[in-house]
């Protein structure tokens, strides 16, 4: 406990940083749940593909430590482009292959859930076996660096050297910390405005509120669902970039734990609620760090899930507890 008090700001800032990543991934769960009443369990893989896209684009561009500011900004911008494109693509593909055929046949939700879990395994294993897949198509010479040790960690070169910007309560807040936290909040605000003001956003809210009435009013449901998956995927892509900048290492199964945590964050904040996902992500990141400080890092996940159970006991709909349709967000 003394350790937590002494280093309160350190635990808080680092908790917010990882919480921002949770929050961005949680958006994907929440958006899809809002319009389909379905937990997209393959969303963790959408995130994982984003981390690899971010890594590969830096490798292609020859990213290295100690580059100038302009160069670094270019690399990071390309990471966003690549990761968002990759994650958005995978999410749309997922909807097309794993969900739409089921929806057309009016399958019960449980079937879609199983389809989601299956899709998750397929996506993770494709990444885990990428060296062999590349071998089959005969590209192993050209792509060797990208597929090496395909079941092992893959690390991003340190393109942004963390520099302390200012000190708060003994903790040196670095440029990476600020970038991740501020960046995540900015992206959230943009999304919030998108859902609130744009035509597509209105469509999303309409389908979430009442799919049949929305269809009667001329909203193309399939298109709205596709856009929802795309937006969720793009958010996961952004999360992937922040994750790679902060953690720097990914693996074919990296999505699993992050996915579970982000799902927890979504439920914690109130699933179906965009602002809830943001709140849930930050609360979860903080709770994990505080818990690790007080009872030891090996209890990190236990703290997170005990918190979830407690909140659901007293507030079954989560902290903010509204659905996408009802909330104006």
């Amino acid at each position: 406990m003394q350790n937590l008090i002494d280093n309160f700001f350190s635990y808080t800032i680092t908790g917010l940083t990882i919480g921002a990543v949770y929050a961005l991934i949680a958006l994907g769960y929440t958006l899809v749940y809002g319009v389909l009443r379905l937990i997209n369990f393959a969303h963790s893989e959408v995130f994982m593909y984003g981390t690899f896209a971010a890594l590969w684009v830096v490798m292609i561009l020859g990213g290295h430590p100690g580059a100038g500011v302009g160069q670094v900004i270019f690399w990071v911008a390309m990471m966003f482009v690549a990761a968002m494109a990759m994650s958005g693509l995978i999410a749309v593909l997922l909807e097309r292959v794993a969900y739409r055929p089921l929806r057309k046949r009016n399958a019960p939700p449980l079937i879609a859930l199983i389809s989601a879990i299956g899709a998750s395994f397929v996506l993770a294993e494709i990444m885990g076996l990428r060296s062999r897949i590349v071998g089959w198509v005969g590209l192993d010479d050209t792509l060797r660096d990208y597929v090496r040790n395909s079941r092992n960690n893959a690390g991003l070169p340190t393109i942004i050297q963390p520099q302390p910007i200012f000190t708060i309560g003994g903790y040196h807040v670095t440029n990476v910390d600020i970038f991740v936290i501020v960046g995540a909040i900015v992206i959230m605000v943009i999304l919030d405005q998108f859902v609130k003001r744009s035509r597509l956003g209105r469509g999303i809210r309409a389908v979430a509120m009442d799919p049949e009435a929305a269809a009667l009013m001329g909203v193309n449901r399939d298109r709205v669902i596709q856009v929802t998956f795309l937006v969720g995927g793009v958010m996961a892509g952004a999360a992937a970039v922040f994750y790679m900048l902060k953690i720097g290492i990914t693996r074919y199964d990296a999505g699993f734990i992050l996915g579970v945590k982000a799902f927890t964050a979504a439920v914690l904040g109130g699933i179906g609620n965009l602002r809830g996902a943001l709140l849930g992500g930050f609360v979860l990141g903080l709770a994990e760090n505080y818990g690790s400080a007080v009872v030891g890092s090996q209890w990190k996940d236990v703290v997170a899930f005990v918190l979830l159970v407690l909140i659901l006991l007293f507030r079954p709909t989560g902290l903010l507890g509204e659905s996408l349709g009802k909330a104006r967000a």
């Binding site: 990882i18 092992n152 690390g155 963390p162 990190k300």
Partner: protein, 380 residues
């Protein structure tokens, strides 16, 4: 009638033996042996360890050594070759018992090199002991493994009861650390080793933490280490966690020395941690490649790289089993053969004490310099 039977029976037996020699259960890498088949047992040795998964490098380094030993043997015994059967545990203790059963059920398997890690050894070795199938581990270093009274357990390297104190000695005497932080990964191997280091360093340990395997975000541990003012950090665990850990510590501006053990002595640690890995000290009861130049040359000729962590130990372990096969031993008599073994191997004098521990033990320190793991000498 009777005379034909007399003639037919040995013929049938010989034919059976020939036939058995020709079929090689699914193994396509080795051509079927032929000729002189009557005495050939078609024996196999098993390689038990992580060959895929995040810790696969450590398993593959061993497997390379084992394959080299097999090549040597099969060159000399072209008429009765021994084949390798792989048991890929991915280093996961939960997969180990089923694989152990598979190895035991295959009566052609006369000995196992492995299990490679301590956790899987603990899970699989009781079954091997019960079945009387000898195991020589080239890499599992948890000391308690030898205390179970398993008759089939042999260890071709020093255990953490020697590695731990050596690491502690290095931290104290060479690094001259006064404030040391100790982290373990709660695994059989990592925790065992970290506990020994904690005990040996005593009051200079300024803080402890335990992480989980597969964890990637170490922000809480990083805060604990940096706020403790530690000038050295010992981590008992494997490279998938060590790489992100040191990266995040360096990102947070921590300047101390990172000390790890054999579980991290793997090129993927450097590939992933990149510049953050520089200066890391790695202790290992494994000999540097230049100790056995002939082995180093043969390894390099086959794999186009220097022998790596436990390649030599893997070679030695396999050689013991192959010598047993050459001496006509089968699964049952192999245990006593290994127990009595006393020959010079590429890494050390190969001889085991009553508990199956290696009698000749050395611990070396390595350092990460310019993206390579280089030896900085024996820790005495």
């Amino acid at each position: 009638m009777r005379s034909t039977l007399k003639f037919a029976v040995p013929l049938a037996v010989a034919a059976l033996a020939l036939g058995a020699c020709g079929t090689k259960g699914g193994d396509t890498t080795t051509p079927a042996a032929s000729g002189g088949a009557a005495a050939c047992g078609n024996y196999k040795i098993g390689m038990f360890g992580a060959l895929t998964g995040p810790n696969a490098n450590l398993g593959i380094y061993i497997q390379n050594g084992v394959n080299l030993a097999l090549d040597d043997y099969n060159k000399k015994h072209a008429d009765c070759k021994v084949t390798l059967e792989n048991y890929d545990s991915q280093g996961d203790p939960t997969q180990a018992p089923a694989l152990a059963k598979k190895a035991i059920d295959d009566k052609k398997v006369v000995g196992i090199v492995g299990p490679a890690f301590s956790g899987e050894s603990k899970a699989a070795d009781p079954a091997f002991n019960e079945a009387g199938l000898v195991t020589i581990t080239p890499s599992a270093t948890n000391p308690k493994l030898a205390d179970n009274g398993w008759k089939t357990f042999f260890r071709a390297l020093g255990n953490d009861a020697t590695q731990g104190p050596a690491a502690a000695k290095y931290i104290k005497d060479t690094l001259k650390s006064t404030k040391t932080f100790v982290i373990d990964d709660a695994s059989e191997y990592g925790k065992g080793l970290a506990d020994i280091v904690r005990q040996d360093l005593g009051s200079q340990v300024v803080g402890n933490d335990t992480i989980q395997q597969k964890q990637t975000d170490f922000s809480a541990s990083v805060t604990k280490v940096t706020s403790s003012g530690a000038d050295a950090l010992f981590f008992g665990g494997y490279s998938p966690e060590a790489a992100p850990m040191i990266k995040q510590l360096r990102d947070a501006g921590w300047k101390g020395t990172f000390v790890v053990a054999d579980g991290v002595k793997d090129q993927s640690f450097i590939d992933n941690a990149k510049e953050a890995a520089e200066g890391t000290i790695i202790t290992c009861p494994c000999v540097p490649p230049d100790v056995a130049p002939a082995f180093q040359a043969a390894y390099k000729a086959k794999y186009n790289e220097d022998p790596n962590t436990y390649s030599g130990e893997g070679y030695d372990s396999a050689t013991i089993l192959l010598d047993g096969i050459a001496a006509g031993k089968d699964r049952a008599s192999m245990v006593d053969f290994v127990k009595a073994y006393d020959k010079k191997g590429v890494t050390k004098q190969l001889k085991f004490d009553a508990k199956g521990e290696s009698a000749d033990i050395k611990v070396f320190a390595y350092k990460v310099e310019n993206g390579k793991i280089v030896s900085v000498g024996e820790i005495k």
